[in-house]
């Protein structure tokens, strides 16, 4: 495969396949070696509100992309509608600011027909989970090789402050003056339920963590879903304070590191264990250092129940919201399967359009008269 290798390789340009010719690829390799964050800035004035979390995500992405070694022209960033979806205008790659909720559909068409590209989707909680919910789940279940960045600020910002599908129950907004009676989506539960092969959560305010999750997503072959908690200073300020302020975060956040025990709290005395009363996971205080019941994090577990259970951990106490890669499993990508079928068919029969048109049941009419079929 092409794109997968390109994304996975960290020490050089990605391999290039059709339909761009080799000459173009040669040129791009030279350029890729010197790609810097500055090369990825555009001449467009960035117009998010002062203090918006989107600035931090843009800066992190611009700094991170050069380390993949992929030439700039091989990236395509596709977005929908909303504050987050202005993102492609500020990133000097190929990009499209499309229509509300449809970015996964457009990106799927692009990725399937151009497996040599690195295709990213930038979306928000309203764009991806409300108007575009259908496209999101289908892109995930097909395992299209898209890196989907969902900026979750739990509010409609561009339309000036209405509750979104991730707003908490009871939230007072302009369209819910008595409090929202909508139960919110948990985006990771949704993604994992839809069959996502990669699902992670990170914070716009934690550049190092955000970058590490982007790196893991880029290395993943297939659809990667990344929920990024992002503060909207104007309409939903401090929504994630519990997770971002040092006093709560340092001790309580459940940090997911592959191969490490899921311990948290003061001195790591709390831990994630099997739920003795249910089917999922639970948290437990005062856990002994050698307690064998402490879960060792393994995002590659084939059974999605584990990642799903992880995604629900913060339901009762938002401080315990897990941060990191919940799920990262291998499955052939949609492009691989599609390319394989097309290539197989191309090999199987010499493409003879005239023969196809003639079919098996044709007849010849001679000049000046008629003949039965020959």
């Amino acid at each position: 495969m092409t794109e997968q290798n390109a994304v996975a390789s960290s020490n050089g340009a990605g391999r290039v396949s059709r339909p761009v010719d080799a000459e173009v690829a040669e040129g791009s390799r030279t350029r890729a070696s010197v790609l810097t964050a500055k090369d990825l800035k555009t001449d467009q004035e960035v117009r998010w509100c002062p203090g918006c979390g989107d600035y931090a995500i843009l800066a992190a992405v611009q700094s991170f992309l050069p380390e993949l070694g992929i030439p700039r022209e091989k990236y395509a960033f596709i977005s929908g509608i909303g504050c987050s979806s202005r993102f492609p205008y500020y990133l000097n790659t190929y990009g499209m600011h499309s229509i509300h909720g449809r970015a996964p559909g457009i990106a799927t068409g692009l990725a399937v027909s151009r497996p040599d590209l690195s295709v990213w989707v930038v979306t928000g909680d309203g764009d991806a989970l409300s108007i575009g919910g259908n496209h999101l789940i289908h892109a995930l279940r097909r395992n299209v090789n898209l890196k989907i960045l969902l900026f979750n600020n739990r509010i409609y910002g561009l339309t000036k402050g209405q509750f979104s599908p991730t707003s908490e129950f009871g939230k007072v907004t302009k369209t819910s003056p008595l409090g929202s009676i909508d139960y919110p989506f948990n985006p990771l539960s949704l993604a994992i339920g839809a069959g996502a092969t990669f699902a992670a959560r990170t914070l716009a305010s934690d550049r190092a963590h955000l970058t590490s999750v982007l790196r893991a997503a880029a290395a993943h072959q297939g659809a990667a879903f990344i929920e990024i908690y992002q503060n909207c200073e104007i309409f939903n300020d401090r929504a994630f304070d519990l997770l971002t302020k040092p006093e709560s975060r340092g001790e309580w956040t459940v940090e997911l590191t592959a191969g490490q025990p899921l311990r948290f709290g003061p001195g790591g005395t709390s831990a994630v264990v099997h739920d003795p009363d249910g089917f999922g996971l639970a948290t437990k205080k005062n856990v002994a250092d050698d307690d064998p019941g402490v879960i060792i994090h393994d995002p590659t577990r084939p059974d999605p129940s584990y990642a799903f259970a992880l995604s629900r951990l913060g339901d009762d106490d938002p401080r315990l919201t897990p941060i990191g890669v919940l799920r990262d499993v291998e499955l052939p990508t949609y492009e691989e399967l599609m390319t394989h079928q097309v290539a197989g068919a191309e090999e199987a029969a010499k493409a003879d359009l005239a023969k196809l048109f003639a079919g098996n049941d044709s007849w010849v009419v001679a000049p000046g008269g008629t003949h039965p079929r020959d």
């Binding site: 229509i99 457009i106 068409g109 289908h138 044709s362 009419v365 000049p367 008629t370």
Partner: protein
């Protein structure tokens, strides 16, 4: 015994039965036999939207009509000369289309009390003289079929299911069709079930022999081969011709074809056909919904493929916003809309031409697209090819309209030589076009007003496009009032400029018997071509002088359209809607056209049109 064989110039046959009786297959086989004989033909399948409506009821009746002749056939939609009714419901549902004297062959075995009551008959029409004005033949088709299978080890139920082949055999004798192709066909179709193949072959032969030996049928008919343009021909349906036209279009543009579609009647067969052609580099994507279908095609076009989506009316409604996006992105996109009866779910399996205004205007803002319509099943090939030419040359969405009648109908198609197809190779932009090595994605070609198409993967031409209004040239976001005014007018001018590369509107306007010129023009579009042309011919035979023209390009119109319209005292526009083309023509050209419309889910009948047009001309 030697029977009389009578020469006739044309015949219309309708096979009707329960939707489980295999009437479509029967009709298709008769069509294949007829094409092999060199007759010209046209077909009209008609089936219920339920896969299995209650058996024996009117709702469950499926039919297949074909007309074949020794001259070029323009329409299948005339009253049948022969109706084959496999049960009482099929008789009742189709009787009103017959003229006195028509031949009716009924399967009398199904005319039991139960069968009659399911069809809503209070008394048996075979016995109550209500069919006196017809040439009625009551044939025990089911029992004759079963008794012809003696010695073949099939169940009674399996045996009864071969009754459609008995009917086909009988009609094959009546019209002197060749037997061998169907025998071979059945052998191949049921290669894995040799007993079923034998049963069907035996029933088919029994039907043929029944015609030859019984005294019920005194006359067999013969239709001479038609004289047509030389070349290699095959029979083709509109949906398959559309598929082939898209393949040919992508070839002539030098692009890979990407088709993103969601299943919808009656368009799905286009997707069914294209999925089988991956060897031509076609990528097909069965999307999660209509919106994702068109969006994936837009994404593919952004990446340098020829993005196509296929649908029917309700799907076109869902795609509206995305088509608007493609308008402002100025990317090639072909949307095939196989029209069906509307509004809403409407009549999914019936035909209508009522999406013209939706195609023209069904988007927010000033969002012009090119609109084309095919005139016949085989013409779907040329129209699809033309749609790809316009989409790629002008970087614009093109809506191609066909309809249920064209989609499922079939006719002989002169197979084109690939070398005679028009070339319109696409050149992607690979070099900067602005000052200081910059790239201006909306710097236009002065001739076509098309913008450069620079695809991802091209170094140095990285750019962003989107649904927000773009600055002329640079393509960056702009809210400037004058720029918006310029861009709206430029996009409109670009679509209008397509008229320079489309053919003029041709008028079929032969002088009358005494050299007089026509004062009335009949102007049609889409699938009404056949019946309208046939009606005009008949009127001329009756001594009338009438001109006929037909529009393929509906936006923009051919550049001589105004001149043509103003050359006649009266312009009549027949359409299967409430006057949509008439409205466009009046608005565009201030010509007071006369609108003649029907919305019955069926094509026009030439004989009805003759009556209606004669009445309007006489006013």
């Amino acid at each position: 015994m030697v029977k009389q064989i009578q020469q006739v110039d044309q015949v219309v046959i309708r096979f009707a039965g329960d939707s489980g009786d295999g009437m479509q297959l029967t009709g298709e086989r008769f069509t294949a036999q007829t094409a092999a004989l060199g007759n010209n033909l046209s077909t009209l399948p008609n089936y219920p939207s339920e896969i299995r409506a209650p058996s024996g009821t009117i709702a469950g009746v499926s039919s297949y009509q074909l007309k074949f002749a020794d001259h070029d056939v323009l329409t299948a939609g005339d009253p049948p000369d022969v109706l084959v009714a496999m049960n009482p419901a099929a008789l009742k549902a189709n009787l009103h289309d017959l003229r006195p004297g028509a031949i009716i062959i009924v399967n009398v075995d199904e005319f039991s009390r139960r069968g009659l009551s399911k069809a809503g008959y209070a008394s048996n029409p075979l016995e109550d003289q209500s069919l006196e004005s017809f040439d009625l033949h009551a044939v025990p088709i089911t029992s004759l079929t079963v008794s012809s299978l003696t010695g073949i080890d099939v169940t009674r139920k399996e045996g009864e299911r071969a009754k459609n082949m008995f009917a086909l055999g009988l009609l094959s004798w009546m019209y002197q069709r060749p037997v061998e192709p169907t025998i071979t066909y059945l052998e191949q179709k049921f290669a894995k079930k040799p007993l079923i193949a034998q049963a069907n072959q035996a029933a088919f032969r029994a039907g043929y022999n029944y015609g030859e030996t019984t005294e019920l049928f005194a006359v067999a008919y013969e239709v001479a081969p038609a004289t047509v343009a030389p070349g290699r021909y095959r029979s083709i349906s509109g949906n398959v011709a559309t598929s082939y036209g898209l393949l040919a279009g992508a070839r002539q543009a030098g692009l890979r074809l990407f088709v993103g579609s969601y299943p919808i009647t009656p368009a799905t067969d286009i997707l069914h056909d294209l999925v089988r052609h991956k060897r031509f580099g076609v990528t097909t994507f069965q999307a999660e919904d209509e919106i994702a279908g068109v969006c994936s095609a837009i994404g593919a076009s952004f990446g340098g493929a020829m993005g196509v989506t296929t649908t029917s009316g309700p799907g076109l409604s869902l795609k509206s916003e995305a088509i608007g996006l493609a308008v402002t992105l100025e990317l090639p996109l072909v949307i095939v809309n196989v029209q069906r009866g509307g509004p809403s779910t409407g009549l999914p399996t019936k035909t209508e031409q009522a999406d013209l205004l939706q195609a023209m205007y069904g988007r927010n803002g000033e969002a012009p697209v090119a609109v084309l319509a095919a005139r016949s099943p085989a013409d779907c090939f040329d129209t699809a090819l033309e749609a790809v030419r316009i989409a790629t040359t002008y970087r614009t969405p093109v809506i191609m309209l066909t309809d249920g009648n064209l989609a499922n109908g079939s006719e002989p198609w002169r197979i084109p030589d690939l070398d005679e197809l028009p070339d319109f190779p696409v050149t992607f932009t690979t070099e900067p076009n602005g000052p200081d090595g910059t790239f201006l994605p909306f710097l236009r070609d002065p001739e076509t007003l098309a913008r450069p198409w620079a695809i991802p993967g091209t170094p140095g031409l990285e750019h962003r496009i989107g649904g927000l209004e773009k600055l002329d040239g640079a393509g960056t976001v702009s809210h400037d009032p004058d720029n918006h005014d310029l861009m709206v007018r430029t996009r409109a001018a670009k679509v209008a400029a397509i008229e320079r590369t489309i053919p003029l509107l041709e008028v079929d306007d032969p002088p009358g018997p005494d050299g007089e010129t026509a004062r009335t023009l009949v102007l049609g579009w889409g699938s009404s071509y056949g019946p309208v042309a046939a009606a005009c011919r008949r009127m001329r035979r009756q001594g009338a002088t009438v001109a006929h023209a037909h529009l393929r390009h509906l936006n923009p119109f051919p550049r001589n359209t105004a001149d043509v319209l103003r050359s006649y005292d009266k312009v009549i526009v027949p359409e299967l809607n409430l006057g949509q083309l008439a409205r466009l023509l009046r608005a565009e050209y201030l010509v007071d056209v006369v609108s003649y419309t029907q919305v019955r889910g069926l094509p026009f009948r030439a004989d009805e049109l003759v009556e209606a047009l004669t009445e309007v001309i006489g006013r």
